[in-house]
């Protein structure tokens, strides 16, 4: 592995603590991310789930220091292999970017430069972190990576432009570019959102294969709980810039304890579902980050706030605390016994066939 950051034994590779990202604008302060903490170990995948404006992408871009220093106020701590990223100099950040930490984006057509050949873009990514390598070596490496991500005839495709690739092939090329310097941490921002399901399945398989091969830590940002269920070890649910639920994939998806997570689950029909299952939406619209709601940011859309005494939900921000399943599963909600409500009220509506099953 090259680059400045080296993994420290026993420590998580990426540790984010109390991360807050704000953007001052003419309309006021946009509170994109507030007090966010999470960590990812090598070989593990964290799924960050949320809708547009939840802060999931903003927080991940902060890991690479991609926010404009003049327009973003970042506090808290982001440690990559023990190195503090917040406040790191631009040149040190550059050493990290695309090297120890790589990022792949949604919509590879927009994220790859339309005017340069795929090969040239890969070569550029390789050479910037391997200045001693020759162009010929870099090109060979680019072909090797295209081959590794399953692009047929890589020695020919390397000289093509992004628009000559199909959507799935472009996303593969994007992944090849992200992995060309053997990163230890890969941040994938909605990597399959623009793709067809069969192509999405191919890309998810590929990402998992590559992760096993390189033992890297992966942060997968998505709005799709199904994708999370396929690939993630841990899940972090974000709403209005804050973590609202965080635990292992199994805990969060089978015994969710926060009404927003319930809402996400009930909004997505299951293809194997009983026809009696309902699609229960989350009412209303996502909150404004300029003037977030008081108390719990989710309270204006929450269908369960009647079960919390008084106006606690609208006045007091709930802390991120462990629920009934131990320290590893935390949620931000005032409900006293969310498990019981989920089992008794929500589950019968969204998955009637699952209710009788003993767990």
């Amino acid at each position: 592995m090259s680059g400045a950051a080296r993994p420290v034994e026993g420590e998580p590779y990426l540790a984010v603590e109390d991360l807050t990202v704000r953007f001052p604008t003419a309309d006021g302060l946009v509170q994109a991310v507030t007090d966010l903490s999470y960590s990812v170990e090598l070989g593990k995948t964290l799924g960050i789930v949320g809708e547009s404006g939840s802060g999931k992408s903003v927080s991940s871009m902060a890991v690479l220091g991609l926010h404009d220093r003049r327009s973003a106020q970042i506090t808290g701590s982001i440690k990559v292999a023990g190195t503090e990223v917040v406040g790191l100099s631009e040149s040190k950040l550059r050493d990290l970017r695309g090297n120890a930490v790589a990022m792949i984006f949604q919509d590879a057509l927009a994220a790859l430069h339309p005017f340069y050949k795929i090969g040239k873009q890969l070569v550029e990514a390789y050479l910037v972190h391997h200045p001693q390598a020759t162009k010929r070596e870099a090109r060979a490496r680019a072909v090797e990576m295209l081959d590794r991500v399953g692009i047929p005839q890589p020695d020919r495709r390397v000289d093509q432009y992004p628009h000559q690739f199909s959507g799935g092939m472009r996303q593969r090329a994007m992944i090849a570019m992200g992995l060309i310097n053997d990163p230890s941490l890969l941040i994938a921002d909605e990597p399959t959102t623009a793709l067809d399901v069969t192509v999405q399945a191919q890309i998810l398989d590929l990402l998992q294969d590559l992760q096993r091969e390189f033992n890297s830590a992966v942060v997968l940002i998505t709005h799709d709980l199904g994708v999370v269920a396929e690939v993630a070890d841990d899940v972090l649910v974000m709403y209005g810039g804050r973590a609202v639920e965080y635990g292992t994939c199994k805990q969060v998806l089978t015994r969710p304890e926060m009404p927003y997570t319930w809402g996400l689950l009930s909004s997505v029909p299951d293809i194997g579902a009983d026809t009696g299952a309902r699609m229960i939406p989350i009412p209303g619209n996502p909150p404004s980050l300029l003037a977030p709601p008081t108390g719990c940011a989710f309270h204006p859309r929450c269908a369960h706030k009647d079960k919390v005494p008084g106006d606690l939900c609208s006045t007091t921000l709930p802390e991120l605390l462990p629920g009934s399943e131990g320290e590893r599963h935390v949620k931000r909600c005032h409900l006293a016994d969310p498990d019981a409500i989920f089992a008794a009220e929500v589950l019968p509506e969204i998955a009637p066939d699952l209710v009788e099953e003993p767990r």
Binding site: Q200, V268, A273, I280, P281, P283, G284, N285
Partner: protein
Amino acid sequence: MTDETTDVVQDGEVTSFTELVGQTHAAAELKADAEPILTVENLRMYFPIRSSLLKRTIGQVQAVDGVSFVVPKGGSLGLVGESGCGKSTTGQLITRLYKPTGGSMQFEGQDLAQLSNRQMRPLRRDIQMIFQDPYSSLNPRHTVGSIVGTPLRVHDVVPRSKTLARVQELLEVVGLNPEHYNRYPNEFSGGQRQRIGIARALALQPKLMVADEPVSALDVSIQAQVINLLQDIQKEFDVAFLFIAHDLAVVHHFCPEVAVMYLGKIVEIGDRESIYSNAHHPYTQALLSAVPDIKQAVTGERRERIRLTGEVPSPIDPPSGCRFRTRCPIAQEICARHEPPLLQIGKRHKVACHFAGRLGEHPREPLTARLLGVDASGQPDPGASPVTDLVEQPGYADTWFDLDQKTIGRA
């Protein structure tokens, strides 16, 4: 108008989960005996490709190639498939954004495929379209009132003086604040814009709505709002839907009947049960197995997928025989030689595959050989008598070929 729909959206009005549940719908049910409102038969659309210099036609994109289906009155048919399969073109043909190359589209006793644009005009009231992108399908310089009111004025549906009242009524139906008629689209969120698009489509009280990916641009929680709204509208106004989507889960919920398209053809069509729990076409099976499944988290194991290799071939030069054969895990010689006919194999289930069967139970010998008068590898069989009337009919026959019993099934 329904009061229920409005409550779902307006902020701060949810009182309890039970109430919220009361405003939602379970999966739409099949009305098996409904009359057809739209009968599409052998619909084809070939787009010519012209050379750049002399404008000679040098090829054709076979976007839709012989598609037949029925949309029942007040029901919904889902059209699923991956990008480039021709599902959107099919929708655009029905709304007559293009004139089809061939085939017929019977709607209320008239063949939409034959009508001139002028003859089509009065029918446009009855067939409306909902678009995918709520950001580009509304003119940003027009107020919501004018967007929703324009179809009313163009078609002289209500007296001018009553237009505003009708617009407000429509806004209320789709769950928007009727007082917001003088706002501009950019003042609304994505989900609200999609509601505006629905209100516009609803203004003329259409009998058929073609919804092309109506929720795929929306956030997950908003998707469910819009699907429930469309279900409300369907119940209230008895509108039929041709629901075009790539999201199999949404289609499962909204459509009691589904057609799966691949490269311009329907490969499998049937009721929800037949497609989702009893798929017989390898493409449908691959498509279903590719959908990420939350239940995996429950079981903790990772499901094995059918991995499709390669890419969808070009519709300019589709493969011979079965169009799926280049990526099919069970393809044999016959698949390259003969196109499989869309055979009815259940009461409401048709499949176009020489080796149709449940996952893991595909037959070794082609089922279709005798029908086509060929041997197992697709070579002409001198002793056989091919069935000559293998023309695809829209809808379902009373008899079918039962694959399990190897006999003729009967309704």
